[in-house]
């Protein structure tokens, strides 16, 4: 590890590489190719100044340590030339780093006109990536942790290699941040507005993506993968049944909507998750945190989607994602209500 620290970084810094180094994960985008040399430039510059300062500190400390109580010390109080130099040299270097750093950053906002447009939506605690015009939508699927067996929702999505891809990022509830370390890119997902960036993924492969902005309970499990596909694989993907856009005419539309949007927090087997289970909820009289009670009917479910904090079931915390008409249109709301209805009603009535 130590040897790699000393030599590996230099080699990797000079040559773009797909394996990654001690410091950096694999480079899989043109932005990573552009940004890593700046990282290594700052790393070596910092190391140089650090060694210089520590060398001087250790040397002075050893050389001028007190040998007798009346050891004489230098009367020098300042030195104009020296002070000018150690102000001016860092200033020049910092301006260089600033200029280099802002160049790559600003370029992220202007995607090439031929970029593939994708829409990313973050919600507690998973991602959905829509492909406008391509009739595809990559929604989260349930994955059991290989060690603990605990299920979480992860999203796999697919992009073509060597072609600019533009992400328009939004959120339905709280802040998230769409982070792909191999691309060296992230941007916050902010409810009520759009952010975004573009990239050109130039190394086919599978790379992790994370949520990087703290968003509550399952923040650390809001993960997924981006699959960078070769030309052939991309064409196959477009024709395949992977990431199908939901079909409003299909019989299982409501169930699919449930899986993509509700499953993280609401079970259908009666077990308690972050929110109440949907099993047997239809027609049930639920006690609310403010003491009132509400019967679960069409209007209650609709209100819970559009304005989730209006009524909170006793024993649960507020904070559910908001599903406005852009995220779930009336037809989708109806399909979800029908699905919840199909899970069975309150038998005790």
């Amino acid at each position: 590890m130590m040897r790699e620290f000393l030599t590996g970084g230099l080699v990797h810094g000079l040559l773009g590489q797909a394996q990654g180094s001690l410091w950096m994960p694999p480079e899989a985008s043109t932005f990573a190719n552009d940004m890593d040399p700046l990282f290594y430039f700052v790393l070596y510059l910092s190391t140089f100044f650090f060694v210089l300062l520590m060398g001087a500190t250790v040397w002075f400390t050893l050389k001028y340590r007190e040998r007798s109580p009346d050891q004489k010390t230098s009367p020098v109080k300042h030195n104009g030339r020296l002070e000018f130099l150690w102000s001016a040299i860092p200033t020049v270097l910092l301006v260089v780093i600033f200029a280099w750093g802002q160049k790559g950053f600003v370029a992220l906002s202007t995607a090439p006109s031929d970029a593939l447009d994708l829409r990313v939506t973050g919600q507690k605690w998973n991602w959905t990536i829509d492909y406008p015009g391509l009739n595809k939508s990559c929604s989260p699927t349930s994955v059991a942790d290989p060690v603990t067996g605990i299920e979480r929702m992860e999203t796999d999505f697919f992009v073509p290699a060597n072609r600019p891809v533009k992400l328009t990022i939004g959120a339905t509830d709280v802040l998230h941040s769409f982070y792909i370390p191999a691309f060296r890119l992230k941007r916050d997902a902010v409810p009520g507005r759009y952010t975004g960036y573009w990239f050109n993924a130039n190394e086919p492969g599978v790379y992790d993506m994370y949520c990087a902005e703290y968003c509550g309970q399952q923040h650390s499990e809001m993960r997924g993968r981006v699959h960078v596909l070769t030309d052939m694989e991309w064409r196959a993907f477009l024709k395949s049944g992977r990431c199908p856009a939901l079909d409003p005419d299909a019989d299982d539309y409501g169930e699919k909507l449930y899986q993509a949007n509700c499953k993280t927090c609401h079970s259908i087997d009666g077990s308690r998750l972050t929110g109440p289970s949907f099993k047997g909820i239809w027609g049930k009289s639920e006690k609310m945190a403010d003491g009132s009670s509400v019967t679960v009917d069409d209007n209650y479910i609709r209100e819970s989607l559009r304005n989730p904090n209006a009524k909170i079931v006793e024993g649960y915390a507020p904070g559910m994602s908001v599903f406005d008409s852009g995220k779930l249109d009336d037809r989708a709301v109806n399909a979800l209500i029908d699905y919840i209805k199909s899970l069975g009603g309150d038998d005790t009535k």
Binding site: L22, W23, M24, P25, M35, F39, V42, S46, L53, F60, T61, Y64, R65, E66, Q71, T73, P75, V76, N79, E83, S87, L94, I97, F98, W100, G101, Q102, G104, F105, V106, T148, I150, V174, L175, S177, Y179, P181, L185, K186, R187, D188, P191, R193, T195, D208, Y210, A212, Y214, C215, G216, Q217, Q218, S220, S271, R272, L273, N309, A317, P318, V322
Partner: protein, 566 residues
């Protein structure tokens, strides 16, 4: 000797009998709780901030143990539930509450008041040659406000919990069911303690300097406290307003930050960092002041570049108000704003670099004693330089896109806050302990503990830089396997660090009972606090001292040499 008064006081101290110190001036708990003596208030702050440091440190160890492995395990023991999935989510909630409590207590109850409120209170009047601060009763009121705020914060955390992170980002903080309103009220109250302390110090420095103590003869610790106080009274009200708006939104439903009520969540980040970035300098500037004192006294050499160090503190205080936007580089703020904030961020690096260079230059041709305090001083140069240099990575926009909200940031601010402020605080406590208590601690144990702290600290936080560049996001309770090695090293380091700090606590407490008598000036310091007996008498000085030279005029300085004074 340097000043007429120092000479006079030294003869006074060499008298056989010692006069009643501030510690024994009056007896009983009540006399401490009602005291308006800045030294007693300083000591009470010292005890309080150490208590909060201890609690927040234990919390850090709890989540470090949890992070030893990628999946939840340790915290599962503290929750119960109907099934594995429910136990899992409850443990996630617990993790989020623990790291929030760690950050909240460390920032608001420990680091912000640490050096200024404890040592600033104790030494500001002594170093200025004053009997007390300008408003002694306000000083006591600040202490009680600090405790009221701290109690409200702890209450919120115990009865309701808080899971927003110490930054309270909206809209999460306006929608979560935890005790955000109560917790922010606690921080709001603590903010007033901070404002009043700052106000008190500014007036004291302006109006109560001893005759002859011009601005250029003030110890650099005073300059640092002065710059800190200015930030405190200008920036803290913004935090108070922001938290008040948050409380209004949560309780009255007025849409300010929550987009479902027509608010703007990013606005909160602007407000919050408009306070909290200058607050970073509230936390680090006093540490700079401490280091200037320690390095010069323990090398018995005039501080190098007095004016550059003093004015760089002021420059940092001013520029610190103009860099908050670097916390929002990936928030979706405009590119123009991001570029401007990046530039200003680099501007603040220059005065900071000047300070570090000046400290190293002070060592040159000195007479250096490696006392425990000095070891912490040198350690500060090491760790703070790493903290500062890694800030350069984060200031560069293109690099920040990758490193923002990763462990690189966690490591960076721990190198600045812990490697900077806490190490300087430890140095300051060792430097001034003989003056405060009149007793010497065990130097051997002091040196041993400092080495353990150094190793533990670097082992804890250096691997986190690499975890961050590899892409490990912060505030994660679970993580993917590839990051395991960094977390293992970090957890081992944190336990080592804990042991080191515990040793410090033990030998310091032991010294109060059995330590050797310190005498007035164990290190050969030349500023006014070393001219009086240890511990000082209740009203500090018998006669108002008169100052006719600067505070770094040590007797060892070779006045026959001709190379000085360019």
């Amino acid at each position: 000797m340097a000043t007429t008064t120092v000479e006079g006081a030294l003869t006074g101290a060499s008298h056989d009998h010692e006069e009643t110190s501030y510690i024994h001036a009056s007896k009983g708990l009540k006399n401490w709780l009602y005291t308006i003596d800045h030294k007693r208030i300083g000591m009470m702050y010292l005890g309080s901030v150490w208590m909060f440091f201890f609690i927040a440190g234990i919390l850090a160890l709890l989540f470090r143990i949890e992070l030893l492995t990628p999946n939840l395990d340790f915290l599962l023991n503290f929750v119960s539930g109907e099934n594995a999935a429910q136990i899992h989510t409850k443990a996630l909630d617990l993790y989020n509450k623990i790291f929030t409590l760690h950050g909240g207590l460390m920032v608001f109850a420990f680091i912000v008041p640490s050096i200024p409120a404890s040592l600033g209170n104790f030494f500001l009047p002594l170093m200025l040659g004053a009997k007390d601060v300008a408003f002694p009763k306000l000083n006591l009121a600040s202490y009680y406000l600090y405790w009221i705020g701290g109690s409200v914060l702890i209450y919120a955390i115990i009865y309701g919990g808080l899971d927003t992170g110490w930054t309270f980002y909206t809209p999460y903080s306006t929608t979560t069911g935890t005790a955000v309103t109560t917790a922010t009220a606690g921080v709001f109250i603590m903010g007033f303690s901070s404002i009043l302390t700052g106000l008190n110090f500014i007036v004291t420095i302006h109006k109560m300097r001893a005759p002859g103590m011009t601005w250029n003869r003030m110890p650099l610790f005073i300059w640092a406290i002065y710059a800190t106080s200015v930030i405190q009274i200008l920036a803290t009200p913004v935090l108070a307003i922001t938290l008040l708006l948050l409380i209004m939104e949560r309780t009255l439903g007025i849409g300010i930050f929550d987009p479902t009520m027509g608010g703007d969540p990013v606005l909160f980040q602007h407000f919050f960092w408009f306070y909290s970035h200058p607050a970073v300098y509230i936390m680090i500037l006093p540490a700079f002041g401490v280091i200037s004192e320690i390095i010069s006294v323990h090398s018995k050499k005039h501080i190098f570049g007095y004016k550059a160090i003093a004015f760089s503190s002021v420059a940092i205080a001013i520029i610190s108000f103009l860099v908050w936007g670097h916390h929002l580089f990936v928030s979706g703020q405009s590119d123009f704003a991001a570029v401007l904030f990046s530039f200003l961020t680099f501007a603040v690096a220059v005065p900071t670099a000047i300070k570090v260079f000046s400290w190293v230059a002070t060592l040159y041709k000195g007479s250096i004693s490696l006392n425990t305090a000095m070891i912490y001083g040198l350690m500060f140069i090491f760790t703070f330089t790493i903290g500062g240099l890694t800030g350069v990575f984060l200031g560069a926009l293109a690099i920040d896109i990758h490193l923002h909200d990763t462990y690189f940031v966690v490591a960076h601010f721990h190198y600045v806050m812990m490697g900077g402020t806490v190490i300087a605080f430890l140095g300051a406590i060792h430097h001034w302990w003989p003056k405060m208590t009149g007793r010497m601690y065990n130097e051997t144990w002091g040196r041993i503990a400092s080495v353990i702290v150094f190793i533990g600290f670097n082992l804890t936080f250096f691997p986190q830089f690499i975890a961050g560049t590899q892409g490990m996001p912060r505030r994660y309770a679970t993580y993917v396997d590839q990051f395991t090695i960094y977390h293992e090293l970090s957890t081992i380091g944190s336990l080592t660090l804990g042991v080191g700090l515990l040793i410090v606590l033990i030998y310091l407490l032991a010294s109060m009972k059995s330590g050797k008598k310190a005498g007035p000036n164990p290190w050969g310091g030349a500023s006014l606090e070393w001219s009086i007996q240890s511990p000082p008498i209740e009203h500090n000085f018998h006669q108002t001292p008169h100052v006719d030279t600067d505070p770094y005029n040590f007797p060892n300085i070779d006045r026959t040499a001709t190379s000085g004074h360019h």
